[in-house]
C-alpha cells in the first residue's frame, strides 16, 4: 500500500473508531484502535490488576490472627476474590497484546504502579474493617462507572468484579459495627483505624481535576466516565452517613453538610503526602514489592516444573500416537 493510501486508510479507521466511541458502543480486541488508546488501556488495566494482587497483602496480613473462625473464613474468601479479580483484569489486559508475565515484570521493577492506598500498613484488626468499608467503598465508587468503559473486555471484567465487591464492603462495615458496639477497647481500635485510613482513602481518587492532565483524554475515549473530584465527592457523600451509623467520627474538623448543594464539604487533602507515597516513599512501598517479588522468585522452580512436565506429556502423547 502506498504512503497516501495507507494514510487514507488510517484516517478512515480513526473516523470509524471515533464514531464507535461517540455512539457509546464497545471496542473489542480485534478492532482497530489508536495506539495511544491501546497503551493507555494496557497501563490502566494492568495497574488495576496489580492493585488487586498487592491488595491481598495488607488484608492477608490478618488471616492467621483473625479473632473468630467466621471472620477468618470471610477474610480468606475476600482475599481469594482479590486474586480472582487480578486474574480477570490481567486477562482483559492480555486481549490488548501483552503477556501477564511481562506486566508482572513491570510491576516488580516499579515501571507500573498499583493503587497507593496499599502502601499503608494494617496494624490492627480494625484496619481490616476500615479497608473493607473505606477502601472497597472508594473502589466501588470508582469501578461502577468502569462497567460502561468503552473497551469491551475491561467493561465485562468490571461487571464481574462489581458483583463480588459489594460483599467486601459490607463485611468491612460489619467488622467496624461490631467493634464500635463492643468493648471500649474495641471501639477505640475502630476509631483509631478510621483516623488512619480516611485521608488515604480520599487520595485513592487521584489528584484534583486541575492537576490531572490525562483525565481529559481518558474521558474522551470513554475509558473514564467521571472526573477524580466528582468521584471523590460521590464517595464522601455516601460515606459520611455510614460513619454516623457506625458511631465513629471522620478525622476532618472541616467536614460539614452544605445545605444548598446537599454535598458534604471536606477539608484540604495533604497532596504532598499523596505524591510522596506515589513516588515510592510510603510506609509499605518497599515491603509490598519485596513480598511480591519474593513470592514470584520463590515460585519460579514450580512454574518451570509445570512447563517442563507439560512438554514431557505432550512428547509422550505424540510418541504414543506414532507407535
Amino acid at each position: 500500500m502506498s504512503d497516501d493510501a495507507a494514510a487514507a486508510r488510517e484516517a478512515r479507521l480513526q473516523e470509524a473508531f471515533d464514531a464507535l466511541i461517540d455512539a457509546d458502543e464497545r471496542v473489542e480486541p480485534r478492532d482497530w484502535m489508536p495506539d495511544a488508546y491501546r497503551k493507555t488501556l494496557i497501563r490502566q488495566i494492568a495497574q488495576h490488576a496489580h492493585s488487586e494482587i498487592i491488595g491481598m497483602q495488607p488484608e492477608g496480613n490478618w488471616i492467621t490472627r483473625a479473632p473468630s473462625l467466621k471472620r477468618k473464613a470471610i477474610l480468606m474468601a475476600k482475599v481469594q476474590d482479590e486474586a480472582g479479580h487480578g486474574l480477570y483484569l490481567y486477562g482483559a489486559a492480555e486481549t490488548l497484546g501483552v503477556d501477564r508475565d511481562d506486566l508482572l515484570d513491570l510491576l516488580h521493577t516499579g515501571k507500573q504502579k498499583y493503587s497507593s492506598i496499599f502502601n499503608y500498613p494494617t496494624i490492627t484488626w480494625a484496619d481490616v474493617g476500615a479497608i473493607g468499608w473505606l477502601v472497597d467503598g472508594a473502589a466501588i465508587t470508582n469501578q461502577v462507572p468502569l462497567c460502561r468503559c468503552s473497551y469491551g473486555p475491561y467493561a465485562r471484567a468490571m461487571i464481574r468484579i462489581c458483583k463480588e465487591e459489594s460483599f467486601h464492603q459490607r463485611q468491612g462495615f460489619d467488622i467496624l459495627l461490631t467493634l464500635s458496639n463492643g468493648t471500649p477497647q474495641q471501639r477505640a481500635m475502630a476509631q483509631d483505624a478510621v483516623n488512619r485510613w480516611w485521608w488515604p482513602s480520599l487520595m485513592m481518587f487521584g489528584p484534583p481535576d486541575a492537576d490531572s492532565p490525562n483525565s481529559a483524554q481518558s474521558m474522551a475515549w470513554g475509558i473514564k466516565r467521571f472526573s477524580n473530584d466528582e468521584l471523590r465527592q460521590k464517595f464522601v457523600d455516601m460515606t459520611v452517613p455510614q460513619a454516623a451509623v457506625l458511631g465513629l467520627t471522620l478525622p476532618d474538623p472541616d467536614l460539614r453538610l452544605d445545605q444548598e448543594s446537599g454535598h458534604y464539604r471536606f477539608g484540604e487533602i495533604d497532596w504532598a503526602e499523596f505524591y510522596e507515597v506515589v513516588k515510592g516513599n510510603g510506609p509499605c512501598n518497599e515491603q509490598r514489592i519485596r513480598h511480591r517479588v519474593r513470592a514470584h522468585e520463590d515460585g519460579a522452580w514450580v512454574r518451570a516444573a509445570a512447563a517442563a512436565y507439560a512438554v514431557k506429556r505432550a512428547e509422550r502423547r505424540a510418541a504414543e500416537e506414532v507407535a
Binding site: R30, W32, L96, D102, A307
Partner: protein, 97 residues
C-alpha cells in the same frame, strides 16, 4: 521471567451455569496443561458455585472471524481471538509501557 521462557500458555474458559443452556465465555487464565486449566477454571470462575460445566481451550487453538467483510476493521489476516504476543512480536519500545 518474560513471556515465552517458562511462561504458561493462555487458555480461554467457557462455563455453562446450572440452569444455563449454553457455555458462555467467562475469561482467560494461564495453565501448563489442560488438567491444570480445568482445575484453575473451577477455582477462579466458579468460586460462587456459578458453573457446572467447564470447557477450556488453548487461546491459540481458536480461529475467529468477523461476520461483516465490509467492516472497516476487518483484517483478513487477523483470524486469531486477539492480539496476543504469541501471535505476533511486540517491538521493544512498545514493551516499555
Amino acid at each position: 521471567m518474560s513471556a515465552g521462557e517458562a511462561g504458561l500458555p493462555l487458555w480461554e474458559v467457557f462455563v455453562r451455569g446450572r440452569r444455563g443452556l449454553a457455555h458462555v465465555h467467562a475469561g482467560s487464565l494461564h495453565a501448563s496443561d489442560a488438567q491444570m486449566a480445568l482445575r484453575n477454571a473451577r477455582d477462579v470462575y466458579t468460586r460462587r458455585g456459578e458453573g457446572v460445566s467447564i470447557w477450556v481451550v488453548p487461546s491459540a487453538q481458536i480461529t475467529a472471524s468477523t461476520p461483516d467483510e465490509k467492516d472497516p476493521f476487518f483484517d483478513p489476516s487477523a483470524d486469531k481471538v486477539y492480539r496476543h504476543p504469541t501471535f505476533y512480536n511486540l517491538p521493544e519500545e512498545v514493551r516499555q509501557m
